[in-house]
């Protein structure tokens, strides 16, 4: 196939495939823990890290990665202080991250082109180092979610009962925040800061509508994520559109299709019930 003729496209498919697995997987837990904006927030924090790396002449990808992880940890600590207003820490960190990114970016005017690749995502932005980083995060995430699937289920369902039944909720929440930071920072080169949460949230939204069980939700989210990333990357190559935006739009179309199909199925089911002989007899009598 033409699309795989270039090395940068092969790298993009590898990176996209890996993020397409770990992003939606993380998204299911984030949505159920009502922390869906955390991904968006950490992507802004990560941008501040990229800017900081540029100013300090460090590797921007690695500094963005480190700052996103730190952001995840701070949100988790603030979440414990603001138990009643759980959305507040996310808002505080998002504002701080964005403010810091804008100020730091203004210090290095000539870097606007590099920043735009982080903002909107770019296939060519996926370097060999970033690909290794994504592979590392995906492997760590898969091990994490496989080994800790049982305590994570309990934590996600109800943190209080999980704690009493012996789950180390503090440590688990902390590690989850670190993994979220890592995943967001790793996903940035593929879909960009502005759309990173789309890849995490949209497949999970589809899965939570359709799945009847927890394992099914995870499988649907991951399959949708992979399909969205691969079709989005292919489409963006042929019609020359930004990959991040194309992937997000395709996932949005999947979500709309899922909602429509679900409504249609419900309508059909109701009609069938309404026309059933038992129902007719009941209503006539």
């Amino acid at each position: 196939m033409d699309v795989f003729g270039y090395e940068f496209m092969q790298r993009a498919f590898w990176a996209g495939g890996m993020i397409g697995i770990i992003g939606p997987l993380l998204g299911v837990y984030l949505m159920l823990r009502r922390q869906v904006l955390m991904a968006d927030t950490l992507s802004h924090v990560s941008l501040a890290g990229v800017a900081l790396g540029s100013v300090l002449r460090l590797n921007p990808a690695l500094s963005g990665f480190a700052v996103a992880v730190a952001g995840g940890i701070i949100i988790e600590q603030l979440r414990r202080s603001y138990r009643t207003y759980s959305e507040l820490p996310v808002a505080i960190i998002m504002t701080s991250g964005l403010a810091l990114a804008v100020v730091l970016m203004s210090l290095r005017q000539n870097l606007s082109k590099s920043f735009s690749s982080y903002l909107f995502g770019s296939i060519v932005a996926v370097s060999g180092t970033q690909l290794k980083l994504i592979a590392l995060v995906t492997a760590a995430g898969l091990i994490y979610f496989t080994v800790l699937r049982r305590p994570l289920y309990s934590l996600t369902f109800d943190e209080e009962t999980a704690g009493i039944s012996g789950v180390r909720t503090g440590l688990l929440s902390f590690s989850f925040a670190v993994l979220t930071g890592m995943t967001v920072a790793a996903a940035m080169p593929v879909v960009g800061v502005l759309l990173v949460s789309a890849l995490i949230v949209l497949p999970a939204s589809i899965a939570l509508r359709l799945a009847s069980g927890f394992t099914a939700a995870i499988l649907i989210a991951v399959s949708t994520g992979l399909l969205g990333v691969f079709s989005g990357l292919t489409a963006s190559y042929y019609i020359n559109t930004p990959p991040g935006g194309t992937i997000a739009l395709i996932l949005l179309l999947f979500l709309l299709a899922a909602i429509s199909l679900q409504k249609l199925a419900r309508l059909k089911r109701r009609r069938r019930q309404y026309r059933s002989p038992l129902h007719s007899r009941d209503t006539v009598n």
Partner: protein
Amino acid sequence: MILSSMRNVVFGYGEEPVIDRLTLDIEAGQFIGITGPNGAAKTTLLKLMLGLLRPWSGTVTLNQEIAAGGRLEIGYVPQQVASFNTGFPSSVRELVRSGCYGRLGLFRRFTKEQEELVERCLRQVEMWDYRNRRIGELSGGQKQRICIARALAQEPQVLVLDEPATGMDAASRAGLYKLMRHYVSVHKRTVIMVTHGQEEAGSYLDSVINLERREREGWTCLVTNSCSVRFGQEE
């Protein structure tokens, strides 16, 4: 044997304490009811007992020796547990099975006995027929029942229920009290239950801790039967 001891416990949410110098011993192997009007600090008392809240002063100790050579296993059904996210993608059976996770650890597979335990717990709360339903599709009372089944599947030495009969009809409430009585009498476990229906549950209970609010004096505890409670006195 004493399960839980509270000594001169003071706790509050603002400036004033809602529990002031409470001394309380809870015996193991009993079905204990905690009653009182709204805002009488019933849930606060439970949370202090479970270590979910830390007292301003005083001590709370849970007797770990009750557990036969291991960690004291506590099954907890909080007040708001049935108001979980209705979109949570889990079947009834999957949720009740998660009660066994503590015993299974991270990797051990479910045994035949554990599958039978899950079935038994679901049958005990009359929810076996709903085992393949998505939990979000259930009514409030049904959600409450599957959360109780999940706590039972944990096979805890102590079962702590905070207003478990919320949303249940009279027959289901009677069934629940009967089941808890059986759990205490036959399986020799301890059940601590916050309830508004003292009249209904009274005949099933071994002890009742009745919390009453007394203005100026703060909060006071009255107790019947074998729970020993003092209030407002230094040890």
